[in-house]
């Protein structure tokens, strides 16, 4: 029982974090057709910026300032990099962001060193929020939950309740037409790219300290975020949300299950000492998102909620 409760809590938090990362990517992908390989690099930048700002001031300032800075970096990248490559097609754009991810990692290594930095949870939030089943649940994770839900509501309000949101939604599917109606599409692209990066940066700010802030964090998170976007379906924030939570839960539940294949498939007579019988469900956790991705692409290429096939 406690395993379920904890997996649920942690899964939802992790899922919301994934959504924070993937929402921007989904918007950018459906609007510009660019699968931004460097998106997780902005997540990393968020964590590092927050670490620096926190060192100079406080976590609370970092919480607001770091995502803004990351968003600005993203806007500059869109304006002076991606827009130039756009004419050479999607493959060139993909390669550009691939190179960019590489570049950001190297620059981070130069500024912050090759090993992890000591980015700490603010002491104000460093206490157990509540205790269930003998284990305490840290307040910081509750804080993450609040921030993530706040972001969710903010994004929903922006997209569904404002005219700017309408324009963005229209630009997702018909960028040219939106331009002919007199809306500044390049500016919309740049803004959305910036906001997307800022959201990734925010995820970095609040996750960098409970996980690890090191130059490898982008590479580790990047592929998972792709999985979310593809599984959710192109252009669908709802899909990205579902996929994020699904993957968050899937991974957390899988880690919690110690049963091995031999236990599960006992009826096939699989030996617990055999190579396959010995595999436990928990060791499958890192594989599951990618399995989901490949299966999804083969059997339902438009994703959970997507309108069009990838």
């Amino acid at each position: 029982m406690e395993t379920i409760v904890f997996a649920l809590l942690n899964g939802v938090i992790y899922g919301l974090l994934l959504f924070m990362l993937s929402s921007g990517l989904t918007l950018i992908f459906s609007m510009m057709g660019v699968l931004n390989f460097a998106h997780a690099s902005f997540y990393m930048l968020g964590a590092y910026f927050a670490f620096t700002i926190m060192g100079a001031t406080s976590f609370w300032i970092a919480l607001f300032l770091a995502p803004v800075l990351v968003g600005l970096v993203g806007a500059v990248v869109e304006r002076y990099g991606l827009r130039r490559v756009h004419a050479n097609g999607h493959v060139a754009e993909l390669l550009f962001t691939f190179g960019l991810a590489y570049l950001i990692e190297e620059i981070v290594k130069i500024f912050y060193g090759k090993t992890a930095v000591d980015y700490k949870i603010p002491s104000l939030l460093d206490f157990p929020a509540f205790t269930i089943y003998g284990a305490s649940f840290p307040a910081y994770r509750m804080f993450m939950l609040v921030i993530a839900i706040g972001m969710l509501i903010g994004l929903w309000f922006l997209l569904k309740k404002t005219r700017a949101g309408l324009i963005i939604q229209a630009a997702l599917t018909h960028p040219h037409m939106v331009g002919h109606l007199g809306h500044n599409v390049p500016l919309i692209f740049m803004t959305v790219f910036g906001i997307g990066c800022a959201l990734a940066g925010l995820a970095g700010v609040i996750a960098g300290n409970i996980f690890v802030t090191d130059p490898a964090m982008a590479v580790q998170m990047g592929p998972i975020v792709f999985v979310v976007v593809v599984v959710g379906g192109i252009g669908s924030l709802e899909g990205a949300f579902l996929a994020s939570i699904l993957i968050g839960l899937l991974q957390n539940f899988a880690v919690g299950i110690s049963a091995s294949f031999a236990d599960i498939f006992w009826f096939t007579g699989l030996s617990p000492t055999s190579e396959i019988g010995d595999i436990t469900v928990s060791s499958l956790a890192p594989v599951l998102p990618f399995l989901l991705l490949v299966l999804m692409l083969i059997f339902r290429p438009r994703g959970l909620m997507g309108e069009q096939e990838l």
């Binding site: 229209a170 599917t173 018909h174």
Partner: protein, 235 residues
């Protein structure tokens, strides 16, 4: 006083390596309705796209005397040039009302029409005002697209093949609507294939062939030019 609304001088355009427009010249005076005729594939839609900045143009395009060639499309639009593309491009998941709202360029400074004006003008649209635009019929979609463009208060509208794929009765209606719009003083560049409509509402006619204008004149003059029709039009 006699400054043309739109002047196109020696306009060229390329798709990849192939040379599609080879020196288009035309002009549209304020309040005029111009029909741009020609066979499929001669570059009529490309001309429209090049003017609107969707295809990279080479050459001179002046709108109210200002050069607009190569400007970003929103800038062209904000100068007062409206565009109704062949593909119509309504926003299918949004309501009719939302579609119309998106036609407004600047909320602080809206045009002479309000959303309600439009809905009053087209009772069909009013009935569907809060439905997703994707479920409208072809004719209704075409109406919506034109209304949406009107919301932006254009001085010239380029309408690309508005009657394509529509039933004859609807074609008639669309023709009437365009004539109606023209009456409000908006200049119109109508890219058409159906001579009947074009000749009915146009003040002047251009015929395109091979990426350039091969004929320009009034409908009555055009009626006498069998040679042009034979060489450059299907019928």
């Amino acid at each position: 006083m006699t400054q043309p609304m739109l002047e196109v001088k020696d306009l060229h355009a390329f798709y990849g390596k192939s040379h599609v427009l080879r020196g288009v010249n035309m002009e549209i005076m304020p309040g005029e309705v111009i029909a741009l005729l020609g066979r499929n594939g001669v570059g009529r839609s490309t001309t429209a796209k090049a003017i609107m900045g969707e295809v990279a143009p080479k050459g001179e395009i002046l709108f109210k005397g200002e050069p607009i060639a190569g400007l970003e499309s929103h800038k062209i639009s904000r100068m007062g040039l409206g565009y109704v593309p062949e593909s119509r491009d309504i926003f299918p998941t949004m309501t009719v009302r939302q579609n119309l709202i998106l036609g407004i360029k600047d909320m602080k400074n809206p045009g002479k029409y309000t959303v309600d004006d439009m809905l009053d003008m087209f009772p069909n649209l009013r009935r569907r005002a809060d439905n997703a635009a994707g479920v409208l019929s072809g004719g209704e979609k075409q109406m919506l697209t034109m209304c949406r463009t009107l919301m932006g208060n254009p001085e010239l509208i380029i309408i690309d093949e508005p009657t394509e794929g529509l039933a004859p009765k609807i074609v008639q209606q669309i023709g009437d609507t365009i004539a109606e719009i023209a009456k409000t003083g908006v200049a119109i560049l109508l890219v058409e294939q159906k001579l009947s409509i074009a000749l009915r509402i146009a003040n002047r006619v251009y015929v395109m062939g091979h990426g350039e204008i091969v004929y320009g004149g009034t409908p009555s003059d055009f009626a006498t030019r069998d040679d042009v029709r034979k060489e450059w039009l299907e019928v």
